[in-house]
Symmetry: C5
Subunit: 159 residues, 5 copies
């Protein structure tokens, strides 16, 4: 299995490295998957869709983690919207998942400690989601409707 | 007939299971259809378009139910917009229907009982819509213009 | 000539029937066109793009009338935006016109008589537009810049 | 060279005719281009993308002028956004330019004289842009960064 | 290596020339790349996607710099959104990067000196990003998560 890791120089933490660390810890021990990683670093998150496309086509990745850090201005949110639309275009065209892992500064404006905490939690949990999806389409089914959250505590299922 | 059921771990009720229950009760008894189901669970609703694509192409589904639960924040609504656009792209490309069954927390903020009620009603009615569409393009024509609603009471036709 | 009529059970008037009535009255008498119609009824207007696609590809329609009724909430307008984008994708791909005939409840909130009046006027006038486009690309040229409106009185050309 | 002229019956001035007049005056005298025109009139600007597509594919146009008149309501602006997105899809697919010439009533609400003045100026200047683009990709390079405007006086370059 | 430079007559500084100057200074000395440039000037930034497409397909460029200047009105921002979406479509289709270098007047309304300063800094830094991406997918990896900014001082990484 080959996992693409696309991240940016715009981000304020090393999101790609964080993802790779979690993969190294969990891929084999928890999911029995022997994986290789391909790293691709671009300037900003609007460069991620073409990076993902290239990771699928030129580097034969089976799944891509697209790691973006969104600034706190409204224009940044518009850009994130654009990037997400195109990431989804790339994944439906490739018929392979792109796990879209975006941290938005609006989630914790100017609270840098909290920003880092949310981003790291989101990356770690979504790396596990990626591994589950690589195992099969029903691997996550036991957790369907459980109100899982990445970046925060789980909301839980409604009783 | 093969029906794809794509749902999420983000949702706070088990939307996929709810859909499957209705299918089991109604597909043969009310529509005379013998069906098989394929389940696909993803982390969030932005992962549904590629799941739907794979259900059509890799699992030969004739129709897909895409079940999403949208959080109450504005950013969640933007994401729902993105997911819907891509689901529609996938369905026009596949030339097969995807029934987009999204519950939005904004419909009943923090009223969990009402949230569940709306979501379940929407799922049950849309499962029947899916079965009707599988029967043929004029199966729903007798109900055209009747102001049907999913999640709520029907609005009815204007006199 | 084969004309596709796609409408919804969500609508509060029978938009498809209204369109067919106008076609029957005018197609031959006013445009000299012998036409056949194909009806396709879906739950909501977000199901119209794939219905249109199927009307073009599986039912060999030369043009499609896509009839939608948009609720009064903001979320309904977002959905209408999505549906329109995809309808336009389908028509450029098919290289054939889809006449997008949407009534928006925001045009006359809670005034049901006025809602019906606008919707019917829009359907009737747009059916004639469809027939004109079937005749040729310059059929409407004598009316270019005349400020024509569907659903309302014509605005007229500026002097 | 073959130039497509797509306009609407919704517009309140005859935008297509205005474009053709400028082409007749300037194409040969100022650019040395012998041109033919193909006219295509549709109901509203949301019908322009498929008209442009057909002008490229069925009528072998080398460039298309898409002439739209946008009403003053917010919904009209949403529609203009949709039309522009699809016009851009059509042009990248055709690998040929579509000059998108839209007048927005919001530019001069209810001042009809000013509306006409802006629209005509925009058409005339953009027709010259179209002719320049037909000549070659560096024809406009001497004017790069000059702050050119269509519909208004040029803003000029910053010193 | 062939680098496409697409810019506009709408911009208020000569963005294409600025990009070419930086390329000439840095491509060989800092990155060891021998490059050729292809210039393409269009009226406005909404014409950039098709220009980029043509630079890839007709002029065999390996990367494109798309240089846009966005006016200060809300409608200009909508247009920038459209242009960016389509630029991203073109790049995923071409599987090659388009560096989207847009200056927005909203960043420094009516402060022309500041406008020029932001725009020039953004162009210069993004030209270097383009050169790095041409070298390889991990060329920027040592800078991942460093909070780099174009147009402004770098934000830096979070500790």
């Amino acid at each position: 299995m080959r996992i693409g890791i696309a991240d940016t120089t715009f981000a304020r933490i090393n999101m790609g490295e964080e993802a790779i660390l979690t993969l190294q810890k969990k891929a084999f021990s928890d999911y029995g998957l022997r994986i290789k990683t391909e790293r691709y670093t671009v300037p900003g998150f609007k460069d991620l869709p073409v990076a993902a496309k290239r990771l699928f086509e030129n580097y034969k990745c089976d799944i891509v983690l697209a790691l973006g850090w969104v600034g706190k201005e409204d224009i940044d949110e518009v850009c994130a919207h654009e990037a997400n639309l195109l990431l989804m275009h790339v994944e439906v065209e490739a018929k392979k998942h792109i796990i879209k892992i975006f941290f938005h500064e609006k989630e914790a404006v100017n609270d840098f400690k909290q920003q880092k905490k949310i981003a790291v939690d989101r990356i770690q949990k979504h790396v596990l989601n990626a591994l589950a999806l690589l195992k099969g389409k029903e691997e996550l089914t036991p957790l369907a409707g459980q109100g899982l959250r990445q970046g925060y505590d789980h909301a839980g299922g409604l009783k």
